[in-house]
């Protein structure tokens, strides 16, 4: 086999799973939740976003063609504290006036033992950085549930920079977790 022929065969082999791609799902807002957790003055708090969309293509046996594409309306943040909820959309934190949405899109999936990990890029506050999420996907009838979790460093994206950068007051790490109820398209 010449190297050219080998390369062509390899390309074809890689392309075949793409022909029959992963299943496309629609996210059901009822029952789905996009949350996060961090700390303030030594106490943890939870927050969530009320408005977000997710385009999910997933098949555990076709990870190469699976894809997550999530868009979050940052102004819809709620953390159970009116002071904090007033501050988060402001220029010092999410700066929704200039950057109303956050966007996460996968660049690939990999298997780490039994755990599937989604690698992707998160664009938040005008900064794009790689973020990896643990994926737990459970088919249920024609639909599925999808749970993802990961961690981002808020200062990587300039969320709460300047005088808010003091991580002894506002935690450096923000744990992200989402539960999605999916129906097949």
């Amino acid at each position: 086999m010449t190297s050219l022929k080998f390369a062509a065969t390899l390309l074809l082999a890689l392309a075949i799973p793409g022909v029959a791609g992963a299943t496309d799902y629609a996210m059901q807002p009822a029952g789905s939740k996009l949350g996060f957790a961090s700390t303030f003055q030594g106490q943890s708090f939870n927050g969530s976003f009320g408005k977000w969309t997710a385009a999910i293509s997933y098949d555990a046996s076709k990870l190469a063609t699976s894809k997550f594409d999530v868009e979050v309306d940052l102004a819809s943040v709620k953390t159970g504290d009116s002071d904090r909820d007033g501050a988060l959309p402001g220029a010092d934190f999410f700066n929704v006036a200039k950057f109303p949405k956050a966007h996460f899109v996968t660049t690939g999936f990999r298997q780490n033992g039994a755990q599937v990990i989604a690698d992707g890029n998160l664009t938040l506050r005008g900064v794009t950085k790689p973020v990896s999420l643990d994926v737990t996907f459970k088919p249920q009838g024609t639909g599925a549930t999808l749970d993802v979790s990961g961690s981002v460093k808020r200062l990587d994206f300039g969320v709460g920079g300047g005088e808010y950068a003091d991580t002894s007051v506002i935690g450096a790490d923000v744990k992200v977790n989402a539960h999605l109820v999916l129906t097949a398209k």
Binding site: F40, Q41, G42, Q43, G80, D81, S82, A87, E163, Y164, D166, S168, V169
Partner: protein
Amino acid sequence: MSLRSTDRRWGSVAKFFHWTTALLIIGNGIFGLLMDLADTPMQKIGWLALHKSIGLTVLALFLLRLLWRMGDRRPAEDPAPRWQQLAAHTVHGVLYLLILALPLSGWWFNSIAGKPLQFFKMFNLPALVAANHDQRHVAHGVHEYLFWFLVLVLVLHVAGALKHHLVDRDNTLLRMLPFRRLRNDTPTQGER
């Protein structure tokens, strides 16, 4: 100067509790009233955290002071009319209640507001009650007016001490002051 109180004067531990509490509670009260002068929200967060930590220190000192007082003797009272002794004791009792009530009402206010309570960035204390946004202003008012009440009672306390010192010219104030000799100071038994 002994650690313990004697028949004639307060010991250095009692003096330490008295003056440290006085300094912290007055200073922290004024500090608390000035919170809105913070330039930025983060500065106010830092000031409030310090205010809360000092308040918790006052509370801890108060509890230690009660413990110490249980085992310490008290100097004999200088002669005064019965009503004045009664007034002094009442003022002392109310002051003790207020020294306890100020930090506790702050803790309660902080809980109502749903804010974290951290002691000098070292550890957190739990909320006393569940957060309730509607009661926030009431709780703030209770905390602030208790301080004004404390100022009022403090004026009586200081006026009494000064009256003893300047009019009666007795040892009531001197025996609580550090590094001062008493008037007509003849060491009694138990004091060196």
